[in-house]
């Protein structure tokens, strides 16, 4: 019993590693990736910010020109992705299913990354 046969077999086969930045990593569709609130549904109830285990969600005021009927307090959640642990507690605890989930995992940055822009884009 020796590993040499295995080594020769692997020498002749293709590498298993992926050239990551050039080629995408195979990732599941329902992988817990970047998520953000949909302002068409969000009522600003603050439950996600209360329940977040890593305290990364802060409730912010909507821009002054935006008035939403279903959001009387005018608040929306802003997620700090740098301290988010992607447990999806906010997604499952939301009473109106307002969170949009993606499988995007490439979020490394030298600055703090927030969900503000993505959330405000949902206004359409």
């Amino acid at each position: 019993m020796s590993i040499i046969r295995e080594v020769i077999k692997n020498l002749l086969s293709k590498p298993v590693t992926i050239e990551y930045p050039r080629k995408p990593t195979p990732i599941e569709k329902d992988f817990r990736g970047r998520h953000y609130a949909d302002l068409k549904k969000c009522t600003g109830c603050t439950l996600c910010a209360i329940e977040c285990p890593s305290n990364c969600i802060t409730m912010e005021k909507l821009p002054e020109d935006v008035r939403l009927k279903h959001n009387p307090r005018g608040l929306y959640p802003n997620i700090n992705y740098m301290s988010c642990v992607f447990c999806y507690r906010c997604v499952t605890v939301c009473p109106v299913n307002a969170y949009m989930t993606t499988n995007e995992y490439r979020m490394s940055s030298i600055k703090e990354v927030y969900s503000r822009e993505l959330t405000l884009q949902t206004l359409g």
Partner: protein, 404 residues
């Protein structure tokens, strides 16, 4: 005066030089911070002191200060590799307090994730063992095949490492038929690889020369020092919480408890390979016999507070028996959460087993215990006024004696 003493002396005592070698805290065989102070007489080890405290995070206090729902996510971060078992143990302890019962499908799914975790945990420690003894090719191959298991875990739970799969009263995700078929396909690919590595560990001269008769633990020593898990089973003692408690769906899923009598490092590694193969069979059984019905709980309808009470739960983590004790006096936060991880027993008590071996064997013995340092960190009570350190014994904590 000195001359007088020299003249009167009839014999001279020469103390042999004992070399103190610090192994760690950076990178002592495994990539976690622990300090082994090794005292060597030549090449032979005459004493080992195990120093911890480089990675203490105060998790137990953190658990007391947060609500049960936040605690579930904090508990799973005590250990990265065995996060699901921590999650399962905490969830079950809370379920005992709250009087909840998960559905049969949820129980099967919980076991599926825990067994997938056991496979990849046993694979990684065997890979590290191969790396420690200088067999880097084998390390690369095992890590490559471990990736298949990580993918399986990703399919089930949505995360490669941290599963976040449990919730009080059930699980957070379900699998459909497409996912089930994919999982069975992955397991079919993993099985021949596990069998190959097991055979390699048994027969390869490179491995057997470094591991055989190294760090032998007799059954008597293993029990008297409170060793747990594969270490205990590698010393010939049949002890497995899965078989004893039959928690979750372990009572319905057939499996064997692997026991080997040799007690050396090789026996411990082979117990792990056999267990990984056994876990693979369990995963296959679960996927074929998955009960129908609902498994996912609606987290919006769960109670905010739980009735007062206390509970004790234990699980068989990849490294041994893991226990959680929860004391709850009402409200939404626990009064006390006590975590006893398997590495706490296995590493801190293991100093005696290094004696008599050579310095090169220290990493081999340490890795054969499968240490998880972040699990086992404990605090020392320091009286700042008097500058006195005090170690609190388990008996004192059990009796409720207040620390000074």
């Amino acid at each position: 005066m000195e001359d007088e003493v020299v003249e009167k002396a009839t014999s001279l005592i020469k103390i042999p030089v004992t070399l103190e070698i610090p192994i760690g805290p950076q990178h002592p065989a495994i990539h976690e911070p622990v300090l082994l102070k090794v005292y060597a007489d030549g090449e032979e080890i005459v004493g080992v002191e195990i120093g911890t405290g480089y990675n203490h995070r105060g998790v137990e206090k953190l658990l007391e200060n947060n609500t049960f729902y936040k605690d579930k996510f904090i508990a799973s971060r005590i250990c990265g590799i065995c996060n699901t078992v921590h999650e399962n143990c905490f969830t079950r302890a809370v379920e005992y307090v709250a009087g909840m019962e998960p559905s049969p499908r949820a129980k099967y799914l919980r076991v599926l994730v825990m067994e997938l975790e056991r496979i990849h945990s046993h694979m990684i420690i065997n890979a590290i063992m191969a790396e420690i003894i200088g067999f880097d090719t084998l390390f690369m191959y095992i890590m490559r095949d471990r990736e298949l298991v990580m993918k399986a875990k990703e399919i089930v739970s949505g995360g490669r490492v941290l599963a976040e799969f449990h919730m009080f009263g059930g699980v957070r995700r379900d699998i459909d038929d497409i996912k089930r078929d994919r999982l069975i396909e992955i397991l079919k690919k993993v099985e021949p690889r596990l069998k190959y590595y097991r055979k390699l560990f048994e027969n390869d001269p490179t491995i057997s020369k470094r591991l055989t008769e190294i760090g032998v633990l007799k059954a008597k020593d293993a029990t008297s020092h409170g060793m747990l898990g594969p270490i205990l089973r590698g010393s010939g003692i049949r002890s497995d919480v899965r078989a004893e408690d039959k928690y979750d769906a372990y009572g319905e899923i057939p499996f064997n408890v692997i026991v080997r009598g040799e007690g050396d490092s090789l026996a411990r590694m082979l117990v792990r390979w056999d267990e990984a193969l056994e876990s693979l069979e369990m995963c296959k059984y679960i996927l074929e016999h998955l009960p129908s019905g609902s498994a996912v709980v609606d987290e919006r309808k769960l109670p905010r507070t739980f009735p007062p009470g206390e509970s004790f739960a234990r699980v068989e983590a990849p490294r041994g028996e893991l226990t959680y004790y929860i004391q709850h006096t009402g409200g939404n936060k626990p009064y006390r959460v006590k975590v006893r991880t398997p590495s706490f027993n296995n590493i801190i008590n293991s100093g005696f087993s290094y004696l008599g071996h050579s310095i090169a064997d220290v990493p081999v013995i340490l890795v054969s215990y499968d240490p998880c340092i972040s699990c086992m960190e404990r605090a020392i009570v320091v009286d700042l006024k008097k500058g006195v350190e005090k170690r609190v014994t388990l008996r004192e904590i059990a009796m409720g004696v207040a620390a000074p």
